[in-house]
């Protein structure tokens, strides 16, 4: 038995009468609620604490010169670079480009993933027909064929959108297949016995049942979208965070490289958070049931 802060005093009081134990439990209630409140607060603060600790370690590394400043610049220099990049519009311009490519790529890739995933879930023969192509695409590192996408789709944003779409497609596809196949056959039979049509079965049963799994796939896709867009930009582009990293690196502006990488992280986290929020809103019925 794990000894929680509440369980520990109870163990120590073994052997006291039931009444005494009841009184003890009642006396402990305010303390228990305080512990719960503190626990919730700690949970909320823990990411902040982690980030603060990381910043302190980072500062310590540069302050005591454990690693050359050429490789790891001090946090203050990175902050200065961030302020400068925000002020002169560099960061906004490149972030806007990457965000645009990501969003279009995400919409494009996820839509295709959902459609093909649903079709495969309903018609297993399709899985045999399409899986060689899908697995081949997925198992080949995108950096290997991204230059080909640039040649085929041109040097404009369309090649980056396709790169993003390719990388976000697979998690959507797999989770849609798993989600739709996971729908209870008995519930499906029940719907059919009630003369529900295909659309009704989809809307009232399949979609709500598969949604948690589909949304989990969307979370993965959202974080992968940054990788897709940036890989496309690395291969050939005039704007975007991938270009900014290359430019900053080629000019030995290490703080700006850090700013760009942190911006990519922030975008990925924000997109993940956005999908989590959508999930929280859409799956409120699940929490009610629970």
């Amino acid at each position: 038995m794990a000894l929680t802060p509440v369980a520990l005093p109870r163990v120590l009081c073994l052997g006291i009468s039931d009444m005494a134990e009841k009184n003890f439990t009642q006396a402990m209630q305010p303390q228990k609620s305080r512990i719960i409140v503190h626990g919730a607060l700690l949970r909320r603060l823990s990411p902040v604490v982690t980030i603060m600790a990381m910043l302190l370690v980072w500062h310590g590394i540069t302050e005591w010169q454990l690693v050359s400043r050429i490789l790891i610049p001090p946090p203050a220099e990175v902050l200065d670079s961030l302020v400068k990049a925000l002020a002169d519009g560099t960061l906004a311009k490149h972030t806007g480009t990457t965000l645009g490519e990501m969003i279009f790529g995400l919409l494009f890739g996820v839509s295709i993933g959902l459609a093909i995933g649903y079709a495969i879930a309903k018609a297993p023969l399709l899985e045999y027909i399409l899986s060689p192509i899908i697995v081949a695409f997925q198992s080949t590192p995108i950096v290997a064929y991204a230059p080909l996408l640039i040649i085929i789709f041109g040097t404009g944003p369309s090649s980056k959108i396709v790169t993003t779409a390719v990388i976000v497609f697979f998690p959507s596809l797999v989770n849609t297949i798993v989600g739709i196949r996971g729908v209870s056959p008995r519930l499906r039979d029940l719907m059919r016995s009630l003369n529900a049509g295909r659309w009704q079965i989809f809307r009232k049963l399949e979609l709500p049942s598969a949604l948690p799994v589909i949304l989990a796939g969307l979370k993965t896709s959202a974080t992968l979208a940054v990788i897709g867009a940036v890989v496309g930009e690395f291969v050939g582009s005039g704007s975007g965070l991938g270009v900014l990293v290359i430019t900053a690196r080629s000019q030995y502006d290490t703080p700006l490289v850090y700013v760009t990488v942190l911006t990519m992280t922030a975008i990925a986290l924000s997109l993940y958070g956005l999908v989590a929020l959508v999930e929280w809103r859409l799956l409120h019925w699940q929490r009610r049931t629970a």
Binding site: I70, I151, T155, G236, S237, S250, Y252
Partner: protein, 377 residues
Amino acid sequence: MFKLVRIVSLISFLGAWVASAQAPLVQERVLLTFIPNVQFAPFYVGIEDGFFAEAGFDVTLEHLQEPEVLDLVAVGQANFGIVSGEQVILARSRGRDVIYIFEWFQQYPVALVYSDALDLSDLRQLRGLKVGIPGRFGASYSGLTTLLSSAGLSETDIEVNEIGFNAAEVFCLGAVDAAMVYANNEPLQIRSRAQAGDCGPISDVEVITVASQVDLVSNGLIVSRDLLNTAPDNARRMARALQAALRLSINNPAQAYLASLAYVDTLPRDAALITELQAAAARQTEFLALEPGREAVAESRAELLRQLSAQFDPGVLTQFQVLLNTIELWDADQLGRSDLASWEAMRDTLALLGFLGDELGDLSDAFSNDYVMVRNA
């Protein structure tokens, strides 16, 4: 007793001599850019023909991106690296104290390639054309800026397209009118495509090298200031070993190609070609014993290509031809030396692009010719 002392002394002397003769080689990483390629032949020759070992080094080669090469040398994680002079200026302007001690490429390797249907006899005719570059960074961008500047133009006078390192494909698809490329490699590929009818309407190409307009400092060997302070002799021995290997590569390209086979998997290794190159290398060694001048050696290279072209398909010889083209960019009476004017021209280009940081200081501190052998190896 006296005899015994003499024997002991003799044994001690022989022991010391054997120990010094077997002094272990110093392990050194030399950081290169790009990927293993016949263009790095002098380094393969340096290892295979024992120039580095003779200088006391057991060299291993690693390939990284230029900024990584420079930073690893700057922080002392590697002692030697190859980068372009442009990178040295940029890095020094942001606090990296690296010194360029050997100019490997005597000519800046970047060029503008365009269809022979275009008339660009005057560079001002570039106005309004679409020009492809890998991106707004690196040697190609500096080269384009220099070309434009030499014609009194700026980037706003043309349409710049960032096409990545796909110049041959994008150019042949007709997406750009001209492209910045490496003079020793891509024009050869584009020309062979064009002549095979595989480059859209383009039947042949013309090339304008940046070096024909302005002398910019190019690729060379760098070390850190710390190394020069603590072990200047190591820097000197490495520079001179590279100088000797480079001279042999220039003088005997067949031998350089054969040395490259162990490092570059993609080189054609047709048995007939290798046999022919081995014979050519042996003949060239005999020829070099006569101490011919640079022009005579250049003629011998051209003659070798003519002989090989009569026997082998162009596809088999492409990489050998890349090597010969690259040798033209390396060759000079005095190898390894760079001059202040070429550094200043590069600095001016980078200043024009607004890429320089605040810490550049005196440009003459960025390079040194003290580590090069004055007479050619």
